[in-house]
Structure formats: structure tokens, C-alpha cells
Amino acid sequence: MLDRIFVTFSVCFLVLLAVVVVFGDFIQPHDPLLQNFAVRDQGPSSTYWLGTDDFGRDVFSRILEGSRLSMTVGLVSPLIAAIIGITMGTSAAYFGGWPERIVTRLTDMMMSFDPLLLGVLVVALLGPGILNLSIAISFALIPSFIRLSRASALAVRQEAYVDAAIAMGRPSYSTIVRHVLPNISGPLVVMTTLWIGTAIRLEATLSFIGLGAQPPAPSWGNIVRYGVQNIFGSPLPALFAGLAITLTVLSFNILGDALRDRLDPDRTVR
């Protein structure tokens, strides 16, 4: 029962977040970039719901604006990683031979790095910025997609219906798309959802250490970063941006767990 409530809250929160991301321009009460030194470091008020930062910018508007960047990176990076990783993983499992060995070894190599470290490495190579950040996060998530899709596809590859499809003259790519992918989609959907949470966290972390979104553009990560630098002026920006990150990641994780329970065929329906 408690599970249900959590899931409901998470879904509601994520829907709300989607509205904020899409219609942000109409919802933000103030211009998130407008500086006003007359109202520096203020607490919450009817004008500034979550107070202002040390440039006198509205924290609420900045968090809403920051959600766009964080969510874009958080959604796009895992999706790119999923497309590349699943393509490589299923093809490797299906065709086997030396391409599979190369892909598996590369994956093992990449898995030995922490995603954060890989992200830092890529940004260090390409330079900071939103596009490079997305590339870095995608790159960091690809190996786990390869690994999961390859393992699942290997199991499905053994199924008689795959042989039957080949025996009916179906070409390889079509066998993968119509017979292999639909049968491994469950765990992959769950993993994508869980990695969205991780991607948001990674974006925040990399922005926090200055490798992500560059000021003045707000993202949750750099709101926390500059908020912490000015924590004695006003703790509110760092606090609320941190809260936004926490709630979003938590919601995606709860959603992922719920999906896993739903899609797991071994679990009896309650």
C-alpha cells in the first residue's frame, strides 16, 4: 500500500516536472537571469517564493529554468546510450565471433572506470559545455547497456523461435528487431528509467565541479555550486536546487522499481 502511494507521488511529481520543462516560459514568475542588487540574498516572500541569490535573481525561477537543462541532459543522455548500447549489445550477442569479443573486452575496460570518472575524462578531452556533458554522460552509460542487452539477447538467441525465424528466411537485422528486441525490452526499459536518475545526478555532479552548464545559464548542478560558495549569504539556492535533484532522482528510481515489478514475469500479480 505504501509502495502504491510512493509510486503515485513519483509519477505526479514527474508529470509536474514535465509541465515545468515544456511550459517553463509561462510559469516562471521572474526572468531567471535578471539581476537586481536591491534584493540580494533575500528569504522567501510573496514576490520571491524561494528567496533570491547573491545577484538578486529569483531562486524559484532559476530552479524551474534549471530543470530544463538538467532534464534534457538527464533524458537525452540515457536514450542515446540506450540506442548505441542496445544496438551494439544485441548485434554482438546475435552474430558472435570476433566482433563480440572486441565489444565485450571494450565494455569490460569501460566498466572498470567509474561513470563519473569517465564523464570527467570525456569533458576534459572535449571541454565543458552542455553538448559535451551529454556526450560524456552517454559515453559513461553505454557499457552497462551493452552488457545488459548482450546478456539478455544471448539467452533469447538460444530460443527455438529465433532459429525458426531464420529457418523461414528472415534476414538477420529483421530477426533482431522483430524477435530478439521485443523479448528483451522489459529489463532494458527498467534500466533506462533507473539510468535517467543517475544521469541527472551525474549532470548535477559535473556541473557542480564546473564541467557542465556554464553560467549564467542555470542548471541544478551549478545553482548548487554557486549556492554553496555563497552559503553564508543565503543557503536557500543550494538547499532548494539540491532538493529538486533529490526528489527527481528518487522519483525516477521509484518508478524504475515499480516498472521492474510490473514487467518481471516471474513475479505473481498481487
Binding site: 527455438a160 525458426a164 531464420i166 529457418a167 528466411g169 522483430r178 523479448n183
Partner: protein
């Protein structure tokens, strides 16, 4: 006699890398003629399924063809390109499998699975393929095909799924159907129905069938000719009548004796062939059956016997049945 449709000559298949490879098929000769049903019999591990997979070029990646040829009409399957194979499979030759439970994709409607080869090979539109699929389901005896076409496999019984498999395999009117133990996973009454269906299709479409089984009942029911396999070779080849009335190879005799019959005494133990099928890594020298053979001779562990014609429709590979003198051999 009609012309051969599939000729397997001296087919060799090995597992593992070149240097340590183990031969699982050691020179298989099988011929199937247009419109005839050939039974391939043998214990597990005799190489009968592997022969079928090799003929369709569906071998697992660990196995490879190391010699011989598989001629379908006049095309050599062993050297055909992937494109060529895709053109042939499901169109001119197709295959049904042992487990109707797993041979259909669980997340795809059965109609779509039957329509797929029709659309690929016959270039039918989605609509035409659907109409053809309904006819096809009807022709394999599935009641209410208009409704059943949109079923998922789990909504059907085992017998029905095997009918769907047959409908799919025969959708493009192939000339050859390879059936790998098509009735093993089904209960006896359904077995008989599926065999009846296969036989009806054979007559109706002038279809050649290779039926792989370890059940002599199935062979007696449906086959015109029989190949008995042991240790990766064909040891006896005979018309179905000759095989039952005039069994020659000691292995075939052993297999037939080990088949339970309805007339046998209840308390009597079923005779068995002593020993077990040799693993491919320790294949005996000479005739592979000699360690288990009750009629073993001195030659048997030294030389491999070849198939010799002993009667009009019977060939056997056994030194104890050889007309050639042992000294000559």
C-alpha cells in the same frame, strides 16, 4: 522413382577449433526424393538433428561443416551466400521444431508470424498475406481461423501451436519440409493428428518430408523410407517395409527390440542395448557401434564399414552383413 530433391553426400560436421575439433557427423549420406517421406532414426547423440540443421545451414556457431555437400535441387547449400540462403529458407525448404512451446515468439501474434514468410518470399501485401494466413490456418485444421489469427502463442494448446508451426513452414509451398521430432513434445492422440496432417500435406503438395525421430511408431506411421543413424553416420537405409520385416544392422535390431509393443508381457523387462552412445570426443575406431555390438567381429574395431546394397531397397554398413570377404576387406 522421382528425382532427388535433397542429396547429402559424405557430410562432415565438427565442433570446436580446428586443432582440437571433434567430428560429430562423419560422412552422412542421405537422399530424399520429390514427394517422399524419409524417416531418420537414432538415439540422442547419433547426429540426426545435427544433419537436419546442417542441411538448413542452421548449425550453432561452435559447429562447422568440414566436408561433403548438401545439394538442394542443384544448389550446394554448403557454399550458398547468406542472401541465397534467405531466398531458399522458408520458401523452397523449411523446418519445424520439436518444441512447439518455444518455437513461436511469445510476444508476436501467430498471424504475423505466419504472414512474415509470405510477405518476404511471395511479396504479398499485408492484406493479401492476412487472407492467405487465414486460409493456411484453416488448411492445417485450426478452428475459427479468423479469430485465432490474432492469438498470441500462449493462448493456444501445444497441438495447435504445432499446427501453427506447420502452417508457417508450409505457407510458401516449399518442396521440402524438415521436421525435427515434431511430435515428441505432444501427447499420443495429438501426435497421431499431427502425423495425419503431415501426411495429408505431403500428398496434397507433393512435398518431400524428412522426419527426424527416435520413435519407430512414428516411422511406421508416416515414412516411406528410413535411415538409421549411429555415431554420426548412416548405418542402415531401407524401405519402411524392409526395415521392419528384414532388419539387418545389429543396431537397428537392438532399437526395434527396445521398442515397447502393446502385445508384450507386462512383467517382462524391455530389452536394451548395452552401453551408451559414445561421446564425440571418444568415438571408437572402426565401426562406431562395435563396443556395444552382439555380433562383433575382428574386423569391426579396425575398419569402418561402408553402406553396401544388399537388397533392392536396402543398404547396410556392417561387417557382419557384408558380402565382401573379410580377407578382401
Amino acid at each position: 522413382m522421382s528425382e532427388p530433391i535433397l542429396t547429402i553426400r559424405d557430410l562432415k560436421v565438427a565442433f570446436g577449433p580446428e586443432k582440437v575439433s571433434m567430428e560429430a557427423l562423419r560422412g552422412v549420406d542421405i537422399t530424399v526424393r520429390r514427394g517422399e517421406c524419409l524417416g531418420v532414426v537414432g538415439e540422442s547423440g547419433s547426429g540426426k538433428s545435427l544433419t537436419a540443421l546442417a542441411a538448413m545451414r542452421l548449425l550453432p556457431s561452435a559447429a562447422r561443416i568440414t566436408g561433403g555437400s548438401v545439394l538442394f535441387k542443384d544448389q550446394d547449400m554448403t557454399s550458398l551466400s547468406r542472401k541465397g540462403l534467405e531466398q531458399l529458407r522458408g520458401n523452397e525448404m523449411s523446418m519445424i521444431f520439436q518444441e512447439p512451446m518455444t518455437a513461436l515468439n511469445p510476444v508476436m501474434r501467430v498471424g504475423d508470424q505466419i504472414a512474415a514468410p509470405l510477405r518476404k518470399h511471395k511479396g504479398l501485401s499485408a492484406k493479401a498475406a492476412r487472407a492467405r494466413t487465414i486460409e493456411q490456418l484453416d488448411s492445417v485444421g485450426i478452428p475459427d481461423p479468423h479469430r485465432r489469427i490474432d492469438n498470441f502463442p500462449h493462448e493456444m494448446s501445444g497441438g495447435m501451436r504445432q499446427r501453427v508451426m506447420i502452417a508457417m513452414a508450409l505457407a510458401c509451398e516449399p518442396k521440402l519440409l524438415i521436421a525435427d521430432e515434431p511430435t515428441t513434445a505432444l501427447d499420443v492422440t495429438i501426435q497421431a493428428q499431427i502425423l495425419d496432417l503431415l501426411r495429408a500435406k505431403q500428398k496434397e503438395m507433393d512435398l518431400a518430408i524428412i522426419i527426424i525421430t527416435h520413435d519407430f511408431g512414428v516411422v511406421a506411421e508416416i515414412a516411406d523410407r528410413v535411415n538409421v543413424m549411429y555415431g554420426g553416420r548412416v548405418v542402415e537405409e531401407a524401405g519402411v517395409g524392409a526395415l521392419f520385416d528384414h532388419t539387418l544392422h545389429p543396431y537397428s535390431i537392438g532399437l526395434l527390440n527396445a521398442t515397447p509393443t502393446i502385445e508384450m508381457e507386462q512383467q517382462r523387462r524391455l530389452p536394451a542395448i548395452g552401453g551408451a552412445v559414445p561421446h564425440i570426443s571418444e568415438m571408437p575406431s572402426g565401426c562406431a557401434f562395435h563396443p556395444r555390438c552382439p555380433e562383433r567381429r575382428p574386423t569391426c574395431d579396425r575398419l569402418v564399414p561402408n553402406l553396401e546394397t544388399v537388397a533392392l531397397d536396402q543398404r547396410v554398413a556392417c561387417w557382419a552383413r557384408s558380402t565382401a570377404d573379410e580377407q578382401v576387406a
